[in-house]
Amino acid sequence: MKIILNIWRQKNPSSPGKLVRYVLPSVSEHMSFLEMLDVLNEDLMQKGDDPVTFEHDCREGICGSCGIMIDGVAHGPLPGTTVCQLHMRHFKDGDELVLEPWRAKAFPVLKDLMVDRSAFDRIIQAGGYISVNTGSAPDANAIPVPKPDAERAMDAAACIGCGACVAACPNASASLFTAAKVSHLGLLPQGQPERPQRVISMVNSMNAELFGSCTNIGECEAVCPKRIPIETIALMHRDYLKACWSFRPESTASQGAG
């Protein structure tokens, strides 16, 4: 089938970009979306043109590297699917599509469809962990975890950090990403000791990274390839409020002497 792509081309972060139109005359319905871009790139290179830069790695919907706006929808039209797992059988002969990078102040474009998502790592650095050094763990079965809690924690932990939630949000908020980690750890007994300070510092870090705030629009949940539920955001907000009330930063007096 024939597919027409209007792709955002931008040489580097400082140069302006524009949409360039490409016609792909024979796309197979069995191809994945990225395989179609591979074919386009092979073709461009044969002609001596700069290939389109896009990120990808696992092509199995798990590493979170890929991510493109297809006609304004993060990862394209298929719900619960990353663009690397999207197959061309979901498109029609003659379709004309617009491909753009994630757009958010916190995700500057590096080249074409590739953006800088390192802000996500910094949010995790702010507290997305349980402080336990290697070697100091008790036996794994010493802490039973009710199955429903483990399942809910896993639902949240499934986040792949692709950034679609930010790209889809009119406020470019990173709430779903942050809430997924806050919920994953907050739902497990192991995550309780640091629960208050974790949510406070992760939320603060999210705000410092120039992500917008959440106004409950729900676009994030709609495009999330891992279907992270928006209720995680409610959980995060509740935890945040509670923590603001109850959390007292460690006082130096309590450290004791000797």
Partner: protein
């Protein structure tokens, strides 16, 4: 050269404890005076970097990905083994050790494997403490399943996303150390050479993949956790960017490379659908617990699978291996599938596929149970093929999946270059000639969390390292080398794309050094690869420049290395005149067609030493001794 394995002696249960006791320690206050480079942020690199930093070392951690969380480990699905015996079904450290040595077809070091089995239990504790949401039973305790080739349930899992959850655990530990200032993270930074000064590994040369900046980083030791080389075959289940550049460039600086021909084929992957195919997708092997594998009895039978009655089906694994059935190890299952396809009984458009059928399991357990167990895998299958496995059997075919070979290391995970440590899939490791399912995650984390932190201290405490800086001759030479290589790639301006070379190399290797090998084919490949390489360096087309994001240039460097690596792999396969594990030589099989080892001549590790461009590398042998598990022919009948 003598390859000193440094394996301890004495009763096997005590060896690791004794080795740890004999190791020199670095005083806590002195640890921060040492800097360690860790390349890779997968399960191996990530866990090593985090743990070394927790101990107090300064860690510089590199990955070419945009974030440490993207490493290929993220894609592992099925699970991680540990000898916890939570199921009370007869598992033990000794049994895991025994299964791994036997599963590896007696080509791994007993001492290493025993240590791995011992440490396995600590890994699960550590991961649970980090918040890894493993599957649980209703009582709140951890759940287990049995996994390809094991007769006990010792595999821990987090739905079909075990690798993801374990990696995110290691990643969170790592980011905690980044926040603490003890790990300095260098994402989007690719290692392109190793710096060896006075015979010791002291640093690396890197290229920033955004700016193109080429620079050196120096340290007291270098750890490579850069993953496997399965992508030498072009099509594999590995992530697209996985490559052999780090280990290959270390090899060219003098590190020996062991058993490159030990590659693993995974039996349950989605078959190839067309020329444009960019990678192969694995369907977790756990599917074999409930799915039954079959092909039509008769090759002319082209009916749709639901029209073929039981009596016209051949459940070939159940028939050939009655006691293990569909759960035979990967190499055995893969070859059996190839055999029926070679007979013309393969299914699907290409004839390169067999059915994996859940109809019986759905009848027995009901669709909801199957959905709970495999829901995400079924979804993934449907997304890719457009077919619903609840209704029609899956079609699967073997694909390259894992590489047991890698840089040679001693018991302390140090290569023959002092100060160069290699962990995870990048080393030649503990799996011998064939890795058991769910054991790679175990090994990567064992190496990173629990082995390297000890052995690194021992190395540093025993070495009197002089100060070095980037003006050193070796640094300048290495930078120069990387810069000229890149410039050369950019200046060829030929007619063929990098991928077209990669695809051709992959096909050649799959045909001649894949699931079945023979001297004729290997010799053919050995003749063709240098020609292809030659053409690459004359006719490859890499556009753009070094000082920008240039994915074609990154790829070109990696494919240039694959074009050399593939040759060594074939050479190793040719010189190993036996069949063992993943290395199946058609001229070495029993009358029933099973793999036949030659224990008299090949109970050893083959470690190759680079001799310079155009010269045949030197093959060294490290003999293997089996004091506990005595070599027998593996039988799964």
């Amino acid at each position: 050269m003598r390859l000193e394995s440094k394996t301890p002696s004495g009763p096997i249960e005590q060896r690791w404890d004794r080795a740890k006791f004999d190791m020199k320690l670095v005083n806590p206050a002195n640890k921060r005076k040492y800097t360690v480079i860790v390349v890779g942020t997968g399960l191996a690199g990530g866990s090593a970097a985090a743990t070394l930093a927790e101990l107090g070392y300064n860690v510089l951690n590199f990955t070419f990905h945009d974030s440490p969380r993207r490493a290929h480990s993220i894609a592992a699905q099925g699970g991680i083994n540990a000898a916890k015996n939570y199921q009370n079904d007869g598992d033990s450290i000794y049994r895991l050790f025994y299964d791994t040595v036997k599963g590896g077809d007696f080509r791994a070091r007993e001492s290493n494997v025993y240590r791995l089995a011992q440490i396995s239990v600590d890994i699960i504790d550590q991961c649970v403490a980090q918040g890894v949401p493993f599957a649980r039973e209703y009582g709140g305790v951890l759940a287990n399943r049995s996994f390809g080739g094991a007769q006990v349930s010792r595999t821990f899992y987090a739905r079909g996303q075990t690798g993801q959850q374990l990696l995110l655990g290691a990643y969170s530990a790592l980011e905690r150390q980044v926040a603490a200032g003890r790990v300095k993270m260098f994402p989007r930074t690719e290692m392109l050479d190793l710096i060896v000064i006075n015979g010791r590994a002291r640093g690396i040369v890197t290229r920033n993949v955004v700016t193109g900046k080429i620079e050196t980083f120096l340290a007291d030791a270098v750890v490579l956790g850069t993953g496997g080389y399965g992508n030498v075959f072009y099509l594999s289940t590995n992530a697209k960017l996985s490559n052999c550049t780090a280990i290959w460039r270390a090899y060219k600086r003098g590190a020996t490379l062991a058993n490159p021909c030990f590659t693993q084929i995974h039996p349950t992957c989605i078959p190839v659908s067309g020329e444009y195919q960019s990678k192969l997708t694995l369907m977790s092997e756990s599917l074999r617990n409930d799915g039954r594998i079959w092909v039509p009895l008769d090759k002319s039978d082209k009916r749709s699978p639901d029209q073929i009655p039981e009596s016209h089906r051949d459940y070939f694994l159940e028939r050939r291996y009655p006691s293990f059935g569909n759960l035979v190890p990967r190499d055995v299952a893969s070859r059996a599938a190839k055999a029926v396809c070679d007979e013309g009984r393969g299914v699907g458009e290409t004839g390169l596929g067999v059915y994996l059928d859940f109809a019986d399991a759905i009848k027995r357990l009901g669709a909801p149970v199957i959905r709970e167990r495999y829901g995400n895998l079924f979804e993934m299958y449907e997304r890719i093929t457009g077919e619903d496995p609840y209704k029609v059997p899956m079609r699967i075919f073997p694909a390259i999946h894992y590489t047991m070979g890698g840089l040679w290391v001693d018991y302390e995970l140090m290569s023959n270059i002092p100060g160069l440590f290699v962990i995870g899939e990048a080393n030649f490791s503990d799996h011998g000639a064939n890795r058991l399912g769910a054991s790679a995650l175990m090994q990567g984390l064992a190496d990173g969390y629990f082995v390297i932190p000890y052995t690194m201290g021992n190395y540093l405490a025993n070495s009197n390292l002089e100060k070095v800086d980037s003006s050193h001759q070796s640094c300048r030479e290495a930078i120069e080398h990387v810069t000229t290589t890149n410039n050369r790639l950019l200046s060829i301006k030929g007619k063929r794309t990098v991928d077209s070379f990669h695809r051709e190399l992959g096909k050649l290797l799959w045909d001649h050094c894949g699931m079945a090998r023979n001297p004729d084919g290997l010799n053919k490949a050995l003749q063709r690869i240098p020609e292809l390489r030659d053409e690459f360096w004359r006719n490859v087309n890499v556009l753009g420049e070094n000082e920008e994001v240039n994915q074609a240039l990154e790829k070109a460097g990696r494919v240039a290395d694959f074009l050399e690596f593939g040759e060594l792999m074939c050479l190793d396969a040719l010189e190993r005149n036996e069949s063992c594990g993943g290395h199946f030589r058609e001229d070495w099989r029993t009358p029933e067609g099973e793999a036949m080892r030659d224990d008299v001549n090949f109970t050893h590790v083959a470690a190759w030493e680079h001799q310079g461009p155009g010269k045949k590398p030197l093959r060294h042998a490290e003999p293997l001794n089996f004091e506990y598990v005595h070599p027998t022919q593996r039988s799964y009948k």
